[in-house]
Subunit: 571 residues, 2 copies
């Protein structure tokens, strides 16, 4: 490609509304432009990267034996009604009617469509396992799109869905996909970790996220210092630690006027929050009459509720919803002053986090406005219904596999593999004839990669103050050739053209920067856009028979003979 | 690819709801499945073809110097309001609101989005010309989707938009795109014709459609027997032929009770429809008070109105709309019995087609219910406002270039190139700084290919009673290898595996049909899906050192040595 015929839409200034570095650099490098909130046009510089990412994904998916399909973006609402998600899915699911008034959705995902396809096309166990994938546009009407293409409303996803006669077959394909994802992200040049993930309400026995480690990540990823254990914090189990000591203090009521938060109360009482419990009152599952009970959750004062874990508790409604002021009033409870004492007696289930359950002589609300209790002890002063893992782990916690302690880093989820089980095949009646001639509900897996997000994630991991440092496999161009004073020195342009032709013929993706710009402008653009190799051709070098080479991460350029240069580029 | 791991979703029966052959065969070959009206999922067999078509298009577009971009499917309505099309575009434009109530459309085309991009990114005449293209999903809410992917609601399009400082530059890029389209359709193996097309209300000086000739086509394409002239019938000019003879008959009123159509009247009067005129009363352009006048169009009885031509007349409203019954009553006119006599005197403009204008002694309505007039003559009996080209040409008409006569064939439009001029750049204010430092409104072209439609069009041209006959460049597989009795004869399977490996290594796209099916089933599937080359490996051939080769169009198979086989495949 000749730069003079390409769109260099580079920006010198950092755009105001871009919070994270990848968003800033993608705008500055002229890779994307915002069309509307959460909608981005990919410019030629960005499309080159996107196409390379897609090609690697397609190649590895084909190699894994998955078969490519292509499903519509617009999907009939009726399928979503069959699966139950037309109601369940929140406003991220964009619903609309066509000219005839028939209801449709813009596909945020394709489980329904592929399961509908499978129930029509798959007839016999002999056809299984089968794994279908596509690379297609998705739409999720995010309430607050942000971070550029990292969390946009329209985005490109590689989604795959596999079909099996049993769990063992699913596990086999799942393992193949796990390895395929590792291959893909390795080829994309990403520093990533497969981590255990929550399987949500679907249950199923396995789910892994592929997390790219970067400070701007929206996920907390937990690692063991001593083992391979890695999990999303949503999933990481907080182990029991220690045993409850016997009570030593008497329960005492103290006035704590207007001290509603744990921090306030503990400062006021000059106590450590680790020696306190905090209450979270949430909606329980509605009974047959439609009444929703209130459930009391208690955590140690310094711990954070893990909503996903709470939602897994059979008494707690999902999505997690806090009790209303009216419900608290009815129960004669004052927010900020609630303790576990007497709740079970009032028929309020009390679920205590493991860490809170081993406290003794602790501080809790007194169930009177502006009062707390000190010296509270479980059983003696407060009954509980159940002990449960309710909290997020923190750095230094024991690793759930018993080896080492936990560290926490930020991650960007770029892939997710998931054992769906029979959720969709049951809802949509997707069966095949089994070996015994009887219908058999298929078992499913699903496997996603955020294709557009991968580009942003790669940048979050690879940049410096000059701009992007693309991994060579996905760089918009692999090599840039800059003839010095091309418009005055025909010899350098001639030499540049020859090198351009030679390198292109060898299969390199080369940019010849023949623009009528100062060298400084060209160098800035080439660094900003993250092109891995730069070759400058000047009159001096021509006379000496050398090329000025600089790798994108190098501090200084070096003069290389042609042979040395080609050796360098081959490596 | 091993067939045992592929999805062969072939059907023996022709599906009921598929009218055209490509739709039938794409369903039968397991290339597509209907998800909802006008929405199709592409199965693995179809995606392989689609990907090959896309790759050829992308390669040739890149070669032409166009730059690939990727624009969102969802577009803010505000841009369509700027261009005026939010109101103008009919219900094919799917409009919806997002969760915040902001109006959007599902993009049926991307002129607005690309012009918005260009007005932000293109600053100087030095950057031009620039040609952007994308391969992206489009949505048009067709009132009656049909013919499978030929006229679906969601489809894939390659659309390109070029930007220029002047018409001369546009013409240059237009010519490049014309040649690029020829290259693309040649590589796709299509029998196509570039034909002149109407430029519609946009005006502009040039537009060509690329028409694939096939009986199922929805367009009429007109050719000269003696020259290169080719045009869509919408565009083809009907020349003046002959001169008007002097009147010989007196005007006579005859009773024609209930004879409303030209066919009825002429049969009733035992006259040739060529000796009659028919009236079409349509809406004129509204005046400043908002009143729409009625305009009378007259054509020879055997001719068909060309609506596009009529819409070009400055007095006629577009889209063409017939006068209402109320309007006719007010004017004291009876549908079916309208003649030109006295209309101009009633202030009804009378526009006469060229062929009708040279009639004398003709039959027309008498402007009385159940009466016609014979021996009518222009000027003596009926004034007219203007003579205009209003009709569709018919076979045998003179070619507009004066060379030969016209033939008419059916065509499927697979591509369209169009000189847009400044319609969008003016509406959206897309300017660059010109050489003189002053803002200059850019001139635009646009260039589309219906990517999914191309696949159907290729099939419409290439099939027989056994199924599809794909051009090799876009076949799902180039070669199929069938080991006979593979499950009983390890030797044939072994030989097939070796040949499979060898041909794959040579870069051929090979299917090894290792399915546990009877040879007849395999042969039918391979013929149905249009794979160009079939190689059967049996025990006899193995012993003789030959392979049984059959091209998809061949009547019989031939036994070839390995060298002969490879020669054949190379050719």
């Amino acid at each position: 490609m000749r730069a003079s015929r390409f769109l260099f839409a580079t920006l010198r200034e950092t755009p105001n509304d871009a919070e994270v570095i990848s968003h800033q650099l993608m705008l500055r490098a002229g890779m994307i432009r915002k069309l509307a909130s959460g909608l981005y046009t990919w410019l030629p510089m960005g499309v080159r990267v996107l196409n390379k990412v897609e090609a690697i994904i397609r190649e590895e998916m084909n190699r894994s034996g998955a078969l490519e399909v292509f499903m519509p973006v617009t999907q009939p609402a009726s399928l979503w009604e069959e699966s139950g998600r037309f109601e369940q899915y929140g406003p991220e699911l964009l619903r609309f009617k066509d000219r005839h008034g028939n209801p449709f959705v813009l596909g945020p995902t394709h489980e329904e469509v592929i399961t509908d396809l499978a129930r029509n096309e798959l007839k016999s166990y002999k056809q299984l396992p089968m794994n279908f994938y596509q690379i297609q546009t998705k739409f999720r009407d995010e309430v607050r799109p942000r971070f550029g293409v990292m969390r946009s409303r329209e985005f490109v996803m590689k989604d795959a869905y596999s079909f099996h006669i049993d769990q063992a077959s699913l596990q086999e394909t799942y393992d193949v996909m796990y390895q395929t994802y590792c291959n893909i992200f390795n080829r994309l040049g990403l520093d990533f970790r497969p981590v255990q993930a929550d399987t949500g309400s679907i249950g199923g026995s396995g789910s892994h996220e592929f997390q790219v480690l970067a400070d701007s990540g929206e996920d907390d990823v937990v690692f063991s210092t001593e083992s391979d254990y890695a999990a999303n914090i949503e999933k990481a189990e907080a182990l029991f630690v220690g045993e409850r000591a016997a009570p030593t203090q008497a329960l005492t009521i103290v006035d704590t006027p207007n001290q509603k938060t744990i921090a306030d109360v503990c400062q006021f009482l000059n106590a450590d929050p680790k020696q306190s419990v905090k209450a979270l009152l949430v909606q329980g599952i509605a009974d047959e009459q439609g009444n929703t009970p209130v459930i009391a959750l208690f955590l140690r004062g310094d711990h954070e509720l893990n909503e996903i874990k709470a939602e897994h508790h059979p008494l707690v409604a999902a999505p997690l919803t806090f009790a209303t002021d009216e419900q608290l009033q009815t129960l004669d409870l004052n927010a900020g002053f609630i303790g576990p004492q007497g709740l079970v007696e009032k028929n309020i289930p009390v679920i205590v986090d493991r860490a809170a359950s081993v406290l003794s002589d602790f501080i809790a609300g007194a169930n009177n406005k502006d009062q707390h209790a000190t010296g509270v002890n479980w059983e003696r002063d407060a009954l509980f219904t159940e002990v449960y893992d309710l909290r997020n782990v923190v750095e230094g916690d024991l690793s759930p596999d018993g080896k080492g302690t936990l560290q926490i880093k930020r991650g960007i989820e770029v892939g997710h593999i998931f054992q769906l089980g029979q959720k969709y095949s049951e809802a949509l009646g997707c069966t095949v004839l089994g070996e015994d001639g009887k219908p058999l509900t298929v078992t499913m897996g699903c496997y996603g990669i955020g294709v557009t997000r991968v580009v942003a994630a790669a940048i979050e991991q690879n940049y410096d103050e000059k701009g992007i440092i693309f991994p060579q496999t996905i760089a918009p161009f692999e090599i840039a050739i800059v003839p010095m004073n091309a418009h005055k020195s025909p010899a350098t342009l001639q030499a540049a053209e020859e090198l351009y032709a030679e390198l292109s013929a060898k299969g390199f993706d080369v940019l010849l920067d023949d623009r009528n710009e100062r060298p400084g402008v060209k160098f800035s653009d080439l660094e900003l856009t993250g092109i891995p190799h730069r070759i400058v051709i000047g009159d001096k070098g021509l006379a000496a028979g050398t090329f000025e080479y600089k790798g994108r991460r190098d501090a200084e350029s070096v003069n290389l003979s042609k042979d040395e240069l080609f050796e360098k580029l081959k490596a």
